[in-house]
Structures are given as C-alpha cells and as structure tokens.
C-alpha cells in the first residue's frame, strides 16, 4: 500500500488545514500531516477515475480569465437588476457541448453559472447538450459561440478530452 495514493490531494489537505486554522505552529503541522496521510488512505477506494490536468499553465490562465469574467459578471448582473426589469428578455438556450469527461462538464457548467447572465440548468442524458437560462438573451447564436470559444475550448485542452 502506498503512503500517498493521492499526492495532490494530500498537499491540498495539508495547506487547507493550515489555512483554516490560520497558523503554522508545530502542533497544527503535525495534525495537518496526519490528515494529509489518513484521509486519502480512507477515501482512495471510493473515487472515480478523473482525467488529469494536462496543461497546468493553461489551467491557471483559465482560472484568472474566469475570475476577471466573474468581476464583470457581477457588475453586469447588478446593473441589469437595478435597471428596467421590463426590458429584460430571459430565455432558455441549449448549448451543444463536446466534452466527454464528467469533470470537464462540471467545470464548464460551473463557469457558465458564474459568468455573465447565464445559469446552467441541466445536462442531457447523452452529455451532448447543456441547457442554460439567460437573464437577458438578445443574440442566441452569439451566446452559444462565446461559451464554446471562451470556455469549452480551453477546458477541452486542459483535460485533453
């Protein structure tokens, strides 16, 4: 049996534990190390196979881009809410997606929910369509194109699927 079946998760647990306690005292280091070793050993048998992150730099760039988009999304949605409600034209859109892994679809759906004016509602059974609701839908084709270009393409490259 390997001591660290999930090395990345172990590191994450270690760092998150120290962050949660906001301390780097020796006692918390020991506790963090204990959790970092014990929890992966316990849950290793229960996890599904996930695609690996093939391009970490692209992943970091993607996260930064999404953060910028979240900022603009917040301002945009705040303006829409305060502005004239009657002019809003909400609508549902079905976006064709081309990602095979569940993790990739989850990341895409979450990003769509956090970025301007769209919330993802459902995925079709064959995982080929993402249903989203837009707060203000003026150009359907443009919205679909921007989601595919801006978010789907980098996700596909990051996970290589």
């Amino acid at each position: 049996m390997k001591l660290f079946p999930m090395p990345f998760h172990s590191l994450l647990l270690f760092v998150v534990w120290l962050l949660l306690n906001n301390s780097i005292s020796a006692g918390h280091m020991v506790l963090a190390a204990f959790f970092a070793i014990a929890i992966p050993l316990l849950v290793n048998g229960m996890r599904d196979e996930h695609p690996k992150i093939l391009k970490p730099w692209l992943a970091i760039r993607y996260v930064l881009m999404v953060m910028k988009d979240i900022l603009t999304a917040n301002v945009e949605v705040a303006l829409l809410i305060v502005g004239p409600i009657k002019k809003l034209e909400p609508g549902f859109v079905a976006v064709p997606i081309n990602i095979s892994s569940d993790l990739g679809i989850t990341v895409l759906a979450s990003t769509v929910s956090l970025t301007p004016g769209t919330v993802s509602a459902e995925v079709s059974k064959d995982k080929a369509w993402l249903y989203i609701h837009a707060l203000h839908l003026d150009n359907e084709a443009e919205l679909i194109e921007s989601i595919k270009q801006r978010y789907e393409k980098p996700i596909k490259e990051i996970f290589g699927c």
Binding site: V16, L19, L20, N21, N22, I70, L71, A73, N74, V75, V77, A78, L80, I81, V82, I85, L88, E89, P90, G91, F92, V93, A94, A109, S110, T111, V112, S113, L114, P116, G117, V119, S120, A121, E122, V123, S124, K125, D126, A128, W129, Y131, H133, L135, L137, E140
Partner: protein, 123 residues
Amino acid sequence: MPLYLEIIICVSLLIGGAFLLVGSYGLIRLPDIYMRLHSPTKASTLGITGVLLASMVFQSHLKGFLSIQELLITLFLLITAPVAANMIAKTALHQRTKPLDKTKNQELIETARDREVPKPPQD
C-alpha cells in the same frame, strides 16, 4: 490603525455591502424563479469577496501576520454557488414552475426536464 488601512477596509466593506444589497434586492424585484436565480449566484459573490477582503486586511493588521483563511471562504463559495444554483434550477424544472410568459425558447423546458436532446426547430 493607519489611515490608509482604514480607507481600504471602508471601501471594500462599502463595495461588498452594495453588491450584497443589490443581490438581495434582485430577489424581490425579478419576476420568475429562473431569473431570481441569477441575482444571488452572481451579485453576491463579489459582495462576499468585498466583505472578506475587508476582514482579511483588518485581521492581518490586528494579528500582525497575513491572514488568508478568508480566501478559503471565497474559494468554497465559488465552488458551491453554481452547484446550488444548478440544483434550484433543476428543482424548478421538475416542479414545472411557470417561467415568465415572454421567456424565449420555452419548448426547451420540456426536453431539459427529461434530459433529452433538444428537438430540431420546425421551420
């Protein structure tokens, strides 16, 4: 506490508070459940981030070392907010909640509920 720190804390508290207020106002103002979903998932993320930023600066000054556990709260919020929004949207679909009459593409609600492939447009 030096003046510039006080200004930074005040500004981020005010920005955060303003966005949280708008987010909550949207809950009363928007007409249907699907539209109401947008306001807490988006307007509030920036609101909470602003408040946590203020807390981070204040605590770092108070304790004398960089306090970054607030970043962790923001991260958890960013992970959970879309999932919660997605579950509420799903529930609304299954409860057959009526969307606003002028909502475009209402035929998609039916296929989304059954997780089917959308039917090609008939024209």
